[in-house]
Amino acid sequence: MAETYVKEVETKSYTKEVLVDFYKTMAKIRKFDENLIKLMAEGKVSGFYHSGIGSEGLSAGSIRQNLRDEDYIYYNHRGCNQKIAKGVPLSKIYGDFLGTIEGTTRGLGAGIVHSADPSRGVLGQAGTIGSQLGLSVGTAYTSKLTGSDQVTVVYFGDGAASREMLHGSLNWAGLYKLPIIYICENNEYAISCHVSETHSVKENIADWADGYGIPNCVVDGNDVLLMHEVVKEAVERAKRGEGPTFIEAQTFRHRGHFEGDPYDYVDVEILQNWKDTKDPITNFAAKLMLDKVVTEEDLEKINKEIDVEIAEAIQKAEAAPLPNPERIYEGLFA
């Protein structure tokens, strides 16, 4: 059965620069999200948006300082958390929502799931959640083929984990010892269904990996440092040729499944408790101040800088033109 990953992680084992980077990344993800919701309210962005607020620590901790540009990720459909952590420029992500040619898709629009930035190892995502579980084995196999030490990190929700594809993917990854890190962002709900209503497990989703002989664990996904450590070990194992790791990271979404979801299927007290006591950003900020890594003023300054960066990104994305209608006839074939 999956063990819970525990480790005494102290801020003093990190440089201030790294710690601030974790904080900045999380704060940037959240502000990006809040501002996107604002753009939706202003009627500038339409379609579906699944806010990623509440689980920033999971993405920041797993990606920052662990992955290089040449390492691959398949992000999930919740917020833009992983793309931002991987360094995709904010103006490009906003452009993909606004449908301007600033977007990574040069005006096709991408919503959450079709932004791509191959120069940073971001190979896109599917509208059919969980499809990335299949693609990731091919991407990871290619590292074997070319003899490179590139790793592939694949993110997916607890709901997506119930797709049949997960089992095919785990079988391949275990069989060919592929350099994959599976990160299941378990926020307990898939739209309206609690994980206990839709998954047959011993205790945790990560237990499934056991059957394929894949090392696995459960971790507090809202602890950015713990996330960093557990993924670091998995990346090292993958680079040593020891194959895949399955990490189930526990978190919760602060908002409904999509903007406009009444979110009435979740106990209000449980939700409030996650917001009040397990917010990854608030908790990390408190830790940094307690350990005297930064002061409140430092954080304020960082937040102001991020506000400016976001405002500039939105401005750039909005200022770019919409494509001309012929855009839809471009790019189907090489």
Binding site: S46, G47, F48, D96, G99, T105, G107, L108, G109, A110, G111, V113, H114, A126, G127, T128, I129, G130, G159, A160, S162, R163, E164, A190, I191, S192, C193, E197, T198, H199, Y265, L322, P323, P325, R327, I328, Y329, L332
Partner: protein, 326 residues
């Protein structure tokens, strides 16, 4: 007569048929307590209980395969839902080869009373994998009946027929139509498969349209009538079986045919309909058969670009005027 939305009409059909036949079982993602992401199944869980109405894991192949496995026992009448019709791609083998062929492959010894509900269509920035109209793929699949209603009245009558039918039905619901209101009588009625409906009579041009495009065609017909061109609008309502008799009769009268659908033009249902029109009425035609579909490229996520995919009233009036030049 009272007017209700297509969503309400579908829900009435589900309610009535589930009351009528206790072997019916309804399942899919979020269809239970949540009532479905399109709110079509609201209240069914509370009314029929958690064995007959249940939420499934996100596992489309298993949803369809389970429905097939239930149906062939002869003891259950499953009504599964895929959250988006596009996801039929994930369950393609289960639909195309299992649902469609199981009975035949095994010598006709079992029945396949499955009604698979599939919401389709471009509906506001949902992107390339949540906006498609994949129905034509299944015209190429023997053993599958294809239903595609355009009004609340048709939706209710056809869904009731689908549920009672002992053969597989793919029931396509255009998402934009869910909120559209139309007359639906209080009394019970059924609509047979393979019976097209003439939504407007006319003498000059026959338009064959499905789902949302029936309404676009009717709007174009109103405009054309002002110019003195009388358009006949035919809604096949089921693509399999396809009521070619009604279509051919109309085309023989008008001598001109235009087929309009939101599916991509190439290989869309219009291709088959056009082929059958020329097989049955070539020498009655005074103009080439025309087709309007969406462009043969994936649907862009951008809501701005999306408008260039949905066939428009102007495209239809232009095509009709061109046909009238012959």
């Amino acid at each position: 007569m009272r007017k209700i939305t297509m969503r309400a009409a579908l829900l009435e059909a589900l309610n009535e048929e589930m009351e009528r036949d206790e072997t019916t079982v309804l399942f899919g993602e979020d269809v239970g307590k949540f009532g479905g992401i399109n709110a079509v199944t609201k209240g069914l869980y509370e009314k029929f209980g958690s064995t007959r109405v249940f939420d499934t894991p996100i596992a489309e192949p298993t949803i369809v395969a389970a429905a097939v496995g239930m149906a062939i026992t002869g003891n259950a009448r499953p009504i599964p839902e895929l959250q988006f019709g596009d996801f039929v791609g994930i369950a393609f083998d289960e639909v195309f080869n299992k649902m469609g062929k199981w009975r035949f492959m095994h010598g006709g010894q079992m029945e396949m009373p499955v009604t698979l509900r599939l919401p389709i269509g471009i509906a506001g920035g949902a992107g390339p994998e949540h906006s498609q109209s994949p129905q034509a793929l299944f015209m190429h699949g023997p053993g599958l009946q294809i239903v595609i209603p355009s009004t609340p009245y048709d939706a209710k009558g056809l869904l009731k027929t689908a549920i009672r039918d002992n053969n597989a039905v793919l029931f396509f619901e255009h998402k934009v139509l869910y909120d559209m209101k139309g007359e639906v009588p209080e009394e019970e009625y059924l609509i047979p498969f393979g019976k097209a409906d003439i939504k407007r009579s006319g003498t000059d041009v026959t338009i064959i349209a499905t789902a949302l495009q029936v309404h676009t065609a009717l709007a174009a017909a109103d405009e054309l009538a002002v110019q003195g061109v009388e358009v006949e609008v035919i809604d096949p309502r089921t693509l399999a079986p396809l009521d070619m008799e009604t279509i051919l009769e109309s085309v023989r009268k008008t001598g001109r045919a235009l087929i309009v659908h939101e599916e991509p033009k190439t290989g869309g249902s219009g291709a088959e309909i056009a082929a059958q029109i020329q097989e049955g009425a070539l020498f009655d035609l005074s103009a080439p058969i025309r087709r309007i579909g969406s462009p043969d490229v994936p649907i862009a996520q951008s809501i701005y670009l999306e408008q260039f995919y949905t066939p428009s009233k102007d495209q239809i009036t232009k095509a009709v005027n061109e046909l009238m030049e012959y």
